[in-house]
Every structure is written in C-alpha cells, then in structure tokens.
Amino acid sequence: MTEPILSLRGLVTEFRTADGVVHAVDHVSYDIYPGETLGVVGESGSGKSVTVMSILGLIPSPPGRIAGGEVLFKGRDLLKLSRKELQRVRGREIAMVFQDPMTSMNPVFTVGDQISEALLVHDPHMGDDKARARTVELLTLVGVPNPDSRFDQYPHEYSGGMRQRAMIAMAIANQPALLIADEPTTALDVTIQAQVLDVLEKAQRETNAATILITHDLGLIAEMADRVVVMYGGRVVEVGDVNTIFHAPRHPYTLGLMASLPRLDADLKRLEPIPGSPPSLINLPSGCAFHPRCRLTKGREVCRTDIPPLREVDGTGHRAACHFSEEMHAAVEQIEAETGVTLTGDSQ
C-alpha cells in the first residue's frame, strides 16, 4: 500500500478556559493518502476544526495548547517545525479553504492581488506580469466570469459563491499536495453549493491534491469522500471507506446520525434521534464518551469504565471504537425496521 501523505498520531489539543480545560482533540489519529478525499464528519463541537488547525499551527495560544502527538507530513513532524518552516509548508504544500472566505481574505486588497501575492511569496522570481496572468488563469479555472476585470475587485464585491471560488483558486495556486476544506459550502445555498462542489472537484483533478473535507453534512460525505472519519467528543469513533461507513456502520454513533437524518430520496416511517445531547468537552463522560446516549450499551459497565480503542472490525481498514461493535449488525437491522431507511439493502 502507498504511504500516507499525512498521519496524525495521538494528537491532543486543549484549551484552558475559565470553566475548565476543554479537551477539544483527544488522542486523534488518522491518515490521508495521496489523491484521496477524506471526509471528516461529526456534529458541531466534536473537534473537527481544531484537529486541522492543530495540523497547520493555527491554534491560538493561550488559551490553546497542543499537548501531545505527532503530525507527520511527508515524513516530517509538523509540530516540531519552527514558525517560519511551518509558514512555508502552509499555503504551498498544504492549503486551506474555510467556511467563510471573508475571514481568510484581506478586505483591503483586491482578490487578484491576494492570489498573485500567494504565488509570489512562494516563487519570488515569477514577476508581477506572470503572476497576474497565472491568477487570471486560476480565476478562469474556478469559473469566475470576466476574470480580467474581476481581478481588480475587492472581496466584498464578490457574492458568497464567487468568493468561495476565488478562495479555491488561491488555495490551489501553488499546487498543494494537501487541500483542507473546512465546511467549504456550509454558508451557501444549495444551487451555489453545487457550483462550488463542481469547482472543488475540478481543482482536485487539476492538482491531484489529497483533500480533507470537513463537514457536518452526511450527504456531502456520501457524494465526495473516498474514506470517512467520524468524530465524537474530540475523538475518532469510526474510520472506513465511504461505502462501508454508510452501509455497514460499526459504531452506534454513526448509525445514530444516519437514523436521525431525513432523506431526500425516501419517505421514512419516522426518524430515530440519538437521545440526549452532545457531551461537554470539559467534562467528558467516563469510559466511552457516547455511553449516556448509546442504544447498544444496555447499561454494561465496561462502557462506563474503559475508553474503547479504535480497533479493526473486518480486516479492510474499517475501524470502530466501541466495545460491542460486533453487535452492530443487529442494531442496523433494528434501525432499518424502525425508520424504514435502507442502509444495507439493494442500493449497493
């Protein structure tokens, strides 16, 4: 098998707040391989964003602190790099697209100048004219109409969808090996999301960059991801290829998400919500953090005492962090009967 381009190993990130220590990322490990799209899914506050901010050295300190682990990128531990070295990696080898491009674009410079600047920082010999030409090329690639005149406009003169296109253009300007997209379409309407997804797919093809796609939208994951990481309470609870995750989930939280989800393509008998609410990361439940909401635990003590390790469930790289994941088959069938959703069925 090919080597991963990025490996997180036991990453721990905390925030010290007046209410206590927020365990935002709690021993998170996952890999991403060249050219693939890795979907990271989980409800808000599960640690998805803080994980990738840690990768890029963007955790505000204080209150934040990376308390442990490794982030291996092409064999180097990014956590050990100097600020300057990290800056070189960021933007050139690893690029990022955020939910709100206004936060990562400078309102006082034109869109074109910012993209050109990104090019020039990493290749000072390029020269202004060439940078402008390349920027116009990039804007064309991402479907910004009239790129020549749009070059000289400011971010606020772009619509939300156009800004996100420009953001993608900037992100791929230096042919990064890894693209991190954190909720890139969450703020957009569905028809505009469709446009941006098209552009994102095109940008991936163009650069062959590996992509980490963070979203709370299972639909987006199903359409875009090759493999999926499911996060809960700052931990990874399940990893697997996209078909396996959707058709044969082996963690009750993953199943709970699917049973909660109304479907565009089916009339469900009812939704089967996960009871209770997401945990506080200051005061995480003992043992398996999911146990107070879990349909599988049935009061068994080990769930309350031992943190379940992320373990292989079927020998295909599919891993789940549940003491009783072998009971999941029956749980899936039960949910199918209760809600009318087809997970394992004929759609495969």
Partner: protein, 359 residues
C-alpha cells in the same frame, strides 16, 4: 389583567374565531400576497426603489396539515410567514384565516387572531427574553391574554406545556442560556402553544440544530401535530427535512411560488426547472447513488429582488428559457391535470432524485 373579550366593532365573535376548524377543512388561504420593502437613499431618504420580497404568493392550508415552504435564502419565505401573522403589513393581497380576511386587521383585532395562529423562529435565543425564567416566558402569553387565572391554574398550565414539549417542569425557574439549542427551541414551541392555537408558522425551526437534535425536534413537532390537531406552515431551506415533515410543498424563488403540490408529486415528478435543479443539487446520503444522478448546475447567482428579471424571474438562470419567458410571467397553474401547479412556460415532469422514481 384586563379581560380578553372583544369589544370593538369589527372584531369577530369569539365563538367563531375560536371554534376549531375540522381537520381537512381550509383554515388559511393566502391570495396574491405581496410585500415590498422601500429602498431609500440620500439625505432626504427618498424612496428610490423597492425590494420585491414577496410577489403574489398564493396557497391554502387545511386544518391539521403541514405545508412546507422551501427555497434558497432571500426568496421571501420569512417575509411570507411574518406577513401572514401580521408582524409585517402586506403591501397587497388577502390573508383569509378561518373565513375572515385579516390582511387589514388592526393590532387589537390581531390579538384575538394570535391566540389561534402563532409563529416560531429559527433562533430561539434571539426570540426569548434572556432575563426572565423559562416559566415566565411560557406564562407571558397567558398573562397577556388574561388566561393566567389564579396562580394555581396558571402554574399548572405552564407545567403542562413544558411537559408537553419534553422539558422538565422543575427546570422552569432556569434562564434561557442554561438550556441547549434544542431545548431552547422546545421553550419557543411551548410558548407558541400556550394559548392553544390551531396554526403554527414555523420559520426554520430546526435549521440551526445538529442532526441528532434536529430529529428530536422534528419528532416532537409531529407528535404535537397528531395530539393537538395543529396545522403547520413549515419554512425551511433543507429539502430533506421538508420532505419528511410536509403533506404538501410549495417551492419559492425570488418572491414567488414556482411549484406547489402533494409532497410525493413534488419530489418524484417536479415540473419546474428550478425545482428540478434544486432537488438535483442536494447531496443524498447514500454513496451508492454517486455518479448515478444528474447534478443540474445552474449558472450565476440569484438576481436581486430589488430588480427582478421581467417575465419569468427564473429565466436568467434557466436552461430552457426562450423569448416568451422574458415577456410573459408564467401563471402558477396545473399544466398536466395532475393537480400540481407550476409556473413555467416549458414545465415538464422529470424525475431527478433517483432513476427508480422515474415511473
């Protein structure tokens, strides 16, 4: 508290306004509803134009049913909802509630209507007073309407309402910030139900919630509907949520309804190009469908409602548009005799969600 008896001429008899409309019978009918906001400029605040936020919306709602109102942001869903409950004054059109046109009702007349028709907002935090306890929040409409009679009866009613929406009545003395988003939405619903209304306008009630909590609130709304015979106008931009909860669905674009019909008809056989594009663009949470669906990608952005295109206002993004579309505003009419009107000169049934539906 003063009495809530109607004393002004023009106020409908309490007996008829507060009589329950039998399930299945029309309770609300909106006709040619229009709301324009003035655009002002300059020192004199001269009006230089208007935002066509709602432009001739028509639908009816039967007692006990759910009408989903769906469309992208800025298409006029909230303005429609707020105008119906008269938080905004309509520019034009009629709003017939239980047989009477309330479009021109005074504040005082609306007070009686509010007992029967309530609105719930997306952001419960913004709409709940942060400084009073949850018990007081829920009691407030009872007090305003003189229904918090005797401290016992009032307290019991509040406890009953909190229980009804799945909250522990013992937590009634807490403040809104002590509750999670989902719980706050339950508080908003309890307050809306205090006066035992028959219609709820729900403006994006679950849009801000995570999926597991969203499902809890959706189930609650369904249970309340069954138990209390409520009718809902359910406003949302999430087409999957709307499919799950609605009996009928209206799709809005730039202030107009472009297609309306039974839920199954809208999802299985959309006829308006905008509905088709919208449905085709929603990601479906089944990787087996990847690459098997056509994603209709519309060009360009939604035009400004301050300056909507002539004729069919969707024409600037429509792949079917021809000359007639710029000249003639297509009427919202049943074009195929299947009881499911659409406003397009070139309407045509087309399954876009799944090939299997294409029967």
């Amino acid at each position: 508290m003063s009495t809530d008896a109607p004393e002004r001429p023009g106020v409908p008899q309490e007996s008829s306004l507060h009589e329950r409309t039998p399930v299945g019978e029309e309770i609300l009918r909106v006709t040619a509803l229009t709301k324009h906001f003035p655009i002002r400029a300059g020192l004199t605040k001269r009006q230089v134009g208007k935002v066509h936020a709602v432009d001739g919306v028509e639908f009816e709602l039967a007692a006990g049913e759910t009408l989903g109102l769906v469309g992208e942001s800025g298409c006029g869903k909230s303005t429609t909802g707020r105008t119906i409950v008269r938080l905004l004054d309509p520019t034009d059109g009629s709003i017939v509630f239980k047989g009477r046109d309330i479009a021109g009702y005074s504040r005082r007349q609306m007070r009686e209507v509010r007992r029967e028709m309530q609105i719930v907002f997306q952001d419960p935090y913004a709409s709940l007073n942060p400084r009073i306890t949850v018990r007081e929040i829920v009691a407030e409409p009872l007090r305003i309407h003189g229904r918090y009679r005797g401290s016992h009866q009032g307290k019991d009613r509040v406890a009953e309402l909190l229980t009804l929406v799945g909250l522990n009545p013992e937590h009634g003395n807490r403040f809104p910030h002590e509750f999670s988003g989902g719980q706050r939405q339950r508080i908003g619903i309890a307050r809306a139900l205090a006066l035992n209304p028959q219609v709820l306008i729900l403006d994006e009630p679950v849009s801000a919630l995570d999926v597991s909590i969203q499902a809890q609130v959706i189930n609650l709304l369904e249970e309340l509907q069954d138990e209390l015979g409520l009718a809902y106008v359910f406003i949302a931009h999430d087409l999957s949520v709307v499919r799950h909860i609605s009996d009928r669905v209206a799709v809005m674009y730039l202030g107009k309804i472009v297609e309306i019909g039974e839920r199954r008809a809208i999802y299985a056989e959309p006829t308006h190009p905008y509905t088709q594009a919208l449905l085709s663009a929603v990601p479906i949470s089944d990787p087996a469908l990847r690459g098997k669906r056509e994603r209709i990608v519309l060009e360009g952005d939604i035009p400004s409602p301050a300056n909507p295109p002539s004729g069919c206002n969707f024409r600037t993004r429509c792949w079917k548009a021809e000359e007639i579309c710029a000249e003639e505003d297509p009427a919202l009419i049943d074009r195929f005799g299947h009881g499911h009107p659409s406003a397009c000169h070139f309407a045509e049934p087309k399954a876009v969600i799944k090939a299997e539906l294409n029967r």
